[in-house]
């Protein structure tokens, strides 16, 4: 299921750090997005959350993950893509996010998980800086796998607290 497009696959470095280049991908509508597989803690089905008052709309709320309080973020709303109703395929990908001096655990709601791809560093191209729905800061790069385009996300940027704070500020004023 994983397709290596690595032209220099005989490179020892690459084979040694084989996980460095593995990405879990998931779907948002027709688009496929990938995250570093080492950052994925677990994948679970969508379950109801406890909403946080005055939080930005893309923060769905918090859940009890075996005794830890974990916040859940809706990726569609984060990207400003039209949101859909959650169904039995809707999953939450629980990710380990780095930044602001500590590691956090956060969940993202996506339509469905897709594949695990092995993408070499060289095949990760800079995304074209136009006509794209997502802020370029959240993108680590793009790759073509099986003639499909996969956007690799920089989850640390995507889930940074600063963005949540900014959104909370504006949400607080405009909300209610």
């Amino acid at each position: 299921m994983s397709t290596s497009l690595d032209p220099v696959s005989d490179d020892v470095e690459v084979t040694d750090n084989i996980h460095e280049n593995q990405y879990l991908t998931f779907l948002l509508g027709d688009e496929e997005y990938g995250v570093d597989i080492l950052r994925v803690q677990e994948i679970r089905g969508w379950d109801s959350v406890t909403t946080i008052p005055n939080a930005p709309a893309f923060i769905k709320g918090v859940i009890n993950l075996r005794g830890t309080i974990v916040s859940i973020l809706d990726l569609r709303e984060r990207f400003g893509i039209e949101s859909v109703d959650y169904n039995e395929l809707t999953v939450v990908v629980v990710l380990r996010v780095k930044g602001e001096g500590k590691d956090r655990i956060m969940g993202v709601v996506v339509d469905a998980v897709s594949e695990v791809y092995h993408i070499a560093e060289n095949d990760l191209k800079d995304p074209p800086d136009l006509g794209y729905a997502i802020n370029m800061d959240y993108m680590k790069g793009m790759a073509t796998v099986d003639n499909k385009m996969v956007s690799i996300l920089d989850i640390d940027q995507l889930m940074s607290l600063k963005d949540i704070d900014d959104a909370t500020e504006s949400g607080g004023k405009a909300g209610a």
């Binding site: 005055n54 009890n64 974990v70 909300g175």
Partner: protein
């Protein structure tokens, strides 16, 4: 064989700091003039174990310093020195220096050498004062000047004769002569002659006692200090004489000391007698150093991460776990019976099954009830592990009062009660500073100077009372003084001047009293270094609020003030009231709730067409709609018969409208910030019985968000 000593460091520091506390408190009880031998003994013992430990772990500066203190204490103990106020004060000062040294050793930071040297000078000066009394052991070690010292201690010679007569109980303390001999043999060529004349017949021999004594000859170029170091641990458990090997004429010591090889009398001459001139030289030099102020105070280290738990508490938990196991097996049995019963029922025969069913159900219920009790008790038991008596904090106060009353020229009697009241370790660590602030304040602003007190018809000595007790899941700490009380007119004037209140505001006496907690408020006419910087009370209030507690003040002019601090027993568990707002469950900390009631339409008033207020008895309280604060759609125009929870925010009541009131329950507090960010209206989250998350309100945050939304026009009343 080498053991990694660093693993014991933590225990050593913990014990040493405890020892320091003992020394401090005992020194404070020591009566000047007639020193109680028991008290001096206690202080001596504490100093001695610090010295021993420090020596073992290689903190030589600590052990040397303690040694000088010990010398002074020793002289006080055997009566050759009077217990003077000066001596006690300098010993107290030495305790401080020792604490700094230990802290520095623990944190691997530099010790302020000047401060240490100055303290040495003071101690040596006291020791030197009564040199006429030289018959006693005046083993002053001029440690601050090691080079000068070296000429005495490191006398070059051919060797030493050591008479080592251990007391019979030497082995009890875990000391092993063989190990010491081995250490000695590393210094030079050692030959030992054992004297076994005291050895009893085999039938009378107690294997734990030591009957042997030795005469050791150690040849080589060895300093006496090195030998002493080997015997450091046991110097009180043996009679030790170290004399130079006969024929060694280079050493001045040889002249002073008889060259007898074995001295059977119990005289311990551990340290060499220094040349007196050297001591005075040292102290003179150090007195110069003393004039310079100690420059930097090493920063306070983080609190220790370990905890000492009484064995009874551990035993209790073990018992509880035992009970839990029994309950578990009981429930297991019920489960098996139920399974067997289900099988039997499926095969057929329905007649007796109903009865058996009822029986199993009864047992199941009983088992579950037992499980619930076990869980609760186990939870309590585990929580109690974190509980420490409040004396940990209170014990700082006598010293503080002692020092401050001298500084302020006030006479103060400190009365402490309820020291055994237990409190969570984390709460304890964070309540220390606020308490110190309050005590300082009571001393500085509360209690008057003796002449003013006498003029006011009060006894000369002011009374400061510290009291702690448990009250319904909370710990109450009271700080009470019989001083001047809060001058309401002055507080009011000051608050107006600082812009905290407006000129025309009418305030109750209580409200005026609570103004002292407002940020930037201080009425002290002279800003002293004791208090009066105007940050104290504000900080006190904030730190207590942070701990989930409250502080209130009651005061009567001319009679005194009482500060009452109410703290939760623990930070991990909270008594909460469950409420629902917009379909979500929330927890309101019970400590914040004054009462809950059903709104009566006739009592609602709108002020300036904006905010709503509620007339509760003779008070008007602001109304906050939780739905509006949370941005949840609110279709209730009329609040009649709505439920309102009245909470205390900054000392005044606020009514919060909620959808429903549910039960009260204890919840375990979880942080929202671990994986998310701070939520202004919430202080944390918890997991309810059904596994869902409920957020815990921060009522202060609710009020400020409400204010913000009101100002932004998000909420219309």
């Amino acid at each position: 064989m080498s053991i990694d000593m660093s693993q014991f460091h933590e225990a050593f520091f913990e014990e040493s700091f405890e020892g320091l506390e003992i020394m401090e408190s005992e020194l404070l009880t020591l009566d000047v003039g007639a020193g109680d031998v028991e008290i001096i003994n206690t202080i001596f013992r504490a100093a001695h174990s610090i010295k021993g430990g420090a020596g073992t772990f290689g903190f030589m500066n600590v052990s040397e310093f303690t040694h000088v203190m010990e010398t002074l204490l020793d002289e006080m103990r055997d009566g050759s020195r009077d217990v003077t106020q000066f001596a006690v004060d300098s010993l107290l000062g030495s305790v401080d220096v020792l604490r700094t040294m230990l802290e520095a050793a623990r944190d691997n930071t530099e010790v302020d050498e000047e401060m240490v040297a100055a303290r040495y000078a003071v101690l040596n000066k006291i020791l030197k004062e009564e040199v006429s009394d030289s018959s006693s052991v005046d083993d002053v070690e001029p440690v601050p000047a090691p080079p000068a010292d070296a000429s005495v201690n490191n006398a070059v010679g051919e060797g030493w004769v050591i008479s080592f007569i251990p007391h019979t109980d030497l082995l009890m303390a875990g000391n092993d002569p063989v190990r010491m001999f081995r250490a000695l043999s590393e210094l030079g060529e050692l030959s030992a002659k054992v004297d076994y004349s005291k050895l009893p017949p085999f039938t009378e021999l107690v294997p734990e006692d030591l009957y042997l004594s030795w005469v050791l000859t150690l040849a080589g170029d060895i300093s006496k200090a090195d030998i002493e170091e080997v015997f450091e641990w046991v110097e009180d458990d043996c009679d030790l004489t170290i004399t130079p090997l006969v024929g060694n004429t280079q050493n001045e010591q040889a002249v002073a000391e008889p060259a007898a090889v074995v001295e059977p009398v119990a005289v311990s001459t551990v340290a060499p007698r220094p040349v007196k001139e050297k001591v005075s030289d040292n102290s003179a030099a150090n007195q110069v150093a003393e004039k310079k102020k100690p420059v930097t105070k090493p920063k306070k280290a983080t609190e220790s991460a370990s905890i000492r738990v009484g064995i009874d508490k551990v035993d209790e938990i073990i018992n509880l776990v035992g009970e839990l196991v029994i309950t578990q097996s009981m429930l297991d049995q019920v489960g098996e019976d139920l399974e067997a019963h289900a099988e039997a029922a499926s095969v057929g025969g329905d007649s007796g099954s109903q009865k058996i069913n009822a029986d199993i159900l009864l047992r199941l219920n009983k088992g579950l009830a037992q499980l619930e009790r076990n869980t609760r008790e186990l939870q309590d038991g585990v929580m109690r592990i974190r509980m420490l008596p409040i004396s940990f904090v209170f014990s700082r106060m006598p010293r503080l009062v002692h020092d401050l009353s001298a500084k302020l020229n006030k006479k103060i009697d400190l009365q402490v009660s309820g020291e055994e009241t237990e409190l969570d370790k984390t709460v304890m660590e964070n309540i220390g500073d606020p308490l110190v602030h309050l005590v300082r304040n009571a001393l500085d602003h509360g209690i008057e100077t003796p002449d003013i007190r006498l003029a006011a018809g009060k006894p000369e000595t002011g009374i400061l009372t510290l009291n702690a007790y448990h009250q319904g899941g909370n710990v109450i700490i009271e700080i009470k003084d019989d001083g001047a009380g809060i001058n309401k007119a002055r507080v009011r004037a000051k608050a107006i001047e600082k812009g905290i209140i407006a000129e025309g505001d009418s305030l109750t006496d209580d409200e005026i009293n609570h103004l002292i907690f407002a940020p930037g408020f201080s009425t002290a006419e002279v800003v002293s270094d004791v208090s009066g910087r105007g940050v104290g009370m504000d900080v006190v209030k904030t730190s207590i609020t942070k701990l989930g507690g409250r502080v209130v003040v009651q005061s009567e002019e001319g009679k005194g003030s009482v500060f009452t601090i109410r703290l939760p027993l623990t930070l991990a568990i909270l008594d909460g009231q469950l409420v629902t707002v917009g379909g979500e469950s929330y927890v309101i900390p019970l400590i914040a709730i004054i009462e809950s009631l059903q709104v009566d339409r006739t009592q609602i008033n709108a002020v300036a067409g904006k905010a709503e207020v509620y007339k509760l008895r003779d008070e008007y309280i602001p109304i906050i709609r939780a739905r509006a604060v949370f941005g949840v759609e609110d279709n209730k125009a009329d609040l009649h018969e709505s439920l309102m929870v009245i909470v205390e925010v900054d000392g005044s009541p606020v009514g919060i409208i909620v959808d429903e009131l549910q039960g009260q329950q204890q919840v375990v507090i979880k942080s929202l910030e671990t994986n998310y960010r701070k939520v202004e209206t919430m202080s944390g989250a918890t997991i309810l019985g059904d596994g869902t998350v409920a957020l815990i309100w921060d009522v202060n945050g609710m009020v400020s968000v409400h204010k913000k939304k009101l100002n932004n026009g998000v909420i219309k009343a």
